[in-house]
């Protein structure tokens, strides 16, 4: 039971990374019907931006704003920087080829992914980079025999706040309804006075911003980052998106958390070596038995 609960906490922690990244895939797919393969690498870029800030600016920031200040600064800069990068990617690589159809845009997304991955390698080098140790003090709590670190608590709370914030915007505000409406029927959305370009700007800024923040969290959690991490996490977050139902915002959150839990339980009870296998096994099972995903219920439009 103790192992189970601890693995649940570990699973929720990495699940919240997947959920934060998955939202970017899901929002972009929902509105653009485009799988933004560059999203995983934007996440990686966020991780490296945070790394750079913590390594180069850590002394300055922590002496002036404390440890928490350093962490928050790294996340903010990653969020803003990657948000802008997301908009840039859309403008440069996707917008000019929308008229050519969906497939060319997907190919372009793959191109951006390869470009970003190599750009990270050129700038930061092909070797693993290590996040500084002192960002969050390594404190471990014991609650009823279950171990949980301070960092895990911080990650879980922050992710929860971010997920709740996004859920609120998408599901409860009129602007969020406009995003969902644009995903359903762009022409009719325009008749409501919704400017699709504003919606596109918003999703390509917000999705990558959340991904970039997740990048910093992953760096702090595993402390080791590499230029290929975007592909690895991107693929898992994409699986989470499919699991929850692509285009569905609550689905991406649930899918991410579930995937993290599956992965951790699988590696605890079966084998760590196969942890990626569980993830993709789930992807295959979902595609076979419930292609619309867990929450991807479709309501037929009456004619």
């Amino acid at each position: 039971m103790r192992i189970f609960l601890e693995q649940m906490i570990n699973g929720l922690t990495i699940g919240s990374f997947y959920a934060l990244i998955a939202l970017g895939y899901s929002m972009v797919y929902g509105v653009m019907k485009l799988i933004n393969f560059a999203h995983g690498d934007l996440f990686a870029l966020g991780s490296y931006l945070g790394f750079t800030l913590l390594v180069w600016g850590n002394a300055y920031v922590t002496t002036n704003f404390g440890l928490a200040g350093g962490m928050i600064a790294a996340m903010l800069i990653a969020a803003i920087g990657i948000g802008m990068a997301g908009i840039l990617v859309e403008r440069i690589a996707y917008r000019p080829i929308y008229p050519a159809g969906r497939l060319p845009a997907v190919v372009s997304a793959l191109g951006v992914s390869i470009f970003l991955e190599n750009m990270i390698m050129v700038i930061w080098g092909p070797r693993y980079q290590a996040y500084p140790v002192n960002v969050v003090p390594t404190v471990r709590f014991e609650i009823g025999g279950i171990h949980i670190t301070l960092l895990q608590i911080i990650i879980l709370i922050l992710s929860f706040i971010l997920l709740a914030f996004l859920y609120y915007i998408i599901q409860k505000t009129t602007f969020g309804a406009a995003i969902r409406a644009s995903a359903l029927d762009r022409d009719t959305a325009a008749l409501m006075g919704i400017n699709i370009n504003t919606v596109i700007f918003f999703i390509f800024a917000l999705g990558p911003a959340l991904g970039g923040t997740a990048g910093v969290m992953v760096g702090m959690y595993y402390r080791q980052i590499s230029f290929t991490m975007g592909w690895n996490y991107g693929l898992k977050a994409f699986t989470a998106t499919i699991l929850g139902g692509i285009g569905n915002i609550p689905g991406a959150m649930v899918g991410g958390l579930l995937l993290g839990i599956f992965e951790m339980l699988g590696s605890a009870y079966i084998s760590t070596a196969y942890k990626d296998v569980f993830v993709f096994l789930i992807l295959i099972l979902v595609l076979i038995f419930r292609p619309r995903g867990l929450l991807g219920e479709k309501i037929a439009e009456k004619v």
Binding site: A181, L184, L191, G193, N195, I299, A300
Partner: protein, 245 residues
């Protein structure tokens, strides 16, 4: 009466196919004008061109004496034109209330205004208030049409474009919808009504235009059109009657 909407020599192309071949029409303030025609005559194309969903190749559309050519679709609604598209096009996975809120999207910052307008729509269609938390895809066809019209009214338009509001509805519902269109018009909103149900449409419209494969063939006041032999034969079932005789 001054012309609210003025269309002059409008040409619309789908690729190399010319869907509208130079049509001119006017809608005056407070009027109900109907455009009748068979499937594929270009009725929906006309409405989609007015609301900016189609590029205008040649000709001119003016609303309140301001040109609408090249105004993007999302700005047309701010000019005071609201388009209720063919087949209702409610946002199926959004609730009824969310659909209505989106109708007032450009005024979303003014919560009081939005809820006042929603009250007005609920007065017109009480069933929508009962169903406001339901996903709109689960409504019946008639309720969806009411929602589509209600959503169109949420922007407080000066003119409503209605594309086949009677499509696929039972006769009793058709009667009800037309009664409501009349009611909306009596509140001072001009209406451009595209219909296949010519008898009903001419019943409430002040004037009408007959659209035939991209051209306006006949136009006039509703009573004139009702008595026009060609209109009777082609659109009011006259031809069919003759055959039976």
């Amino acid at each position: 009466m001054s012309a609210l909407l003025k269309i002059n020599n409008l040409h619309i192309f789908y690729g190399s196919i010319e869907a509208l071949k130079g049509i001119s029409l006017e809608v005056n303030e407070g009027e109900i004008v109907t455009v009748l025609g068979a499937n594929g005559a270009g009725k929906s194309t006309l409405l989609r061109a007015i609301s900016g969903l189609l590029p205008i190749k040649k000709g001119k559309i003016e609303f309140e004496e301001k040109e609408l050519n090249n105004v993007p679709a999302f700005e047309i609604v701010m000019r005071g034109i609201s388009h209720v598209p063919e087949g209702r096009k409610v946002f199926a996975t959004l609730t009824v209330e969310e659909n209505l809120n989106l109708g007032a999207f450009t005024d979303r910052k003014n919560a009081k205004l939005v809820s006042e307008r929603k009250e007005r729509v609920y007065n017109l269609f009480p069933i929508l208030e009962k169903r406001k938390n339901q996903l709109s895809g689960t409504l019946s066809g008639g309720e969806q049409q009411m929602l589509a019209i209600g959503r169109g009214l949420m922007s407080n338009p000066r003119m409503l474009l209605l594309d086949e509001p009677s499509l696929g509805l039972a006769p009793l519902l058709v009667k009800q919808i037309f009664k409501i269109i009349y009611e909306i018009n009596s509140q001072g909103i001009a209406i451009l009504l595209v219909e296949q149900n010519a008898r009903k449409a001419l019943g409430i419209a002040h004037r009408g235009y007959i659209l035939e494969t991209g051209n306006i063939s006949i136009s006039g006041l509703s009573p004139e059109l009702k008595n026009n032999k060609k209109v009777q034969e082609a659109y009011l079932g006259g031809a069919a009657l003759k055959k039976i005789k």
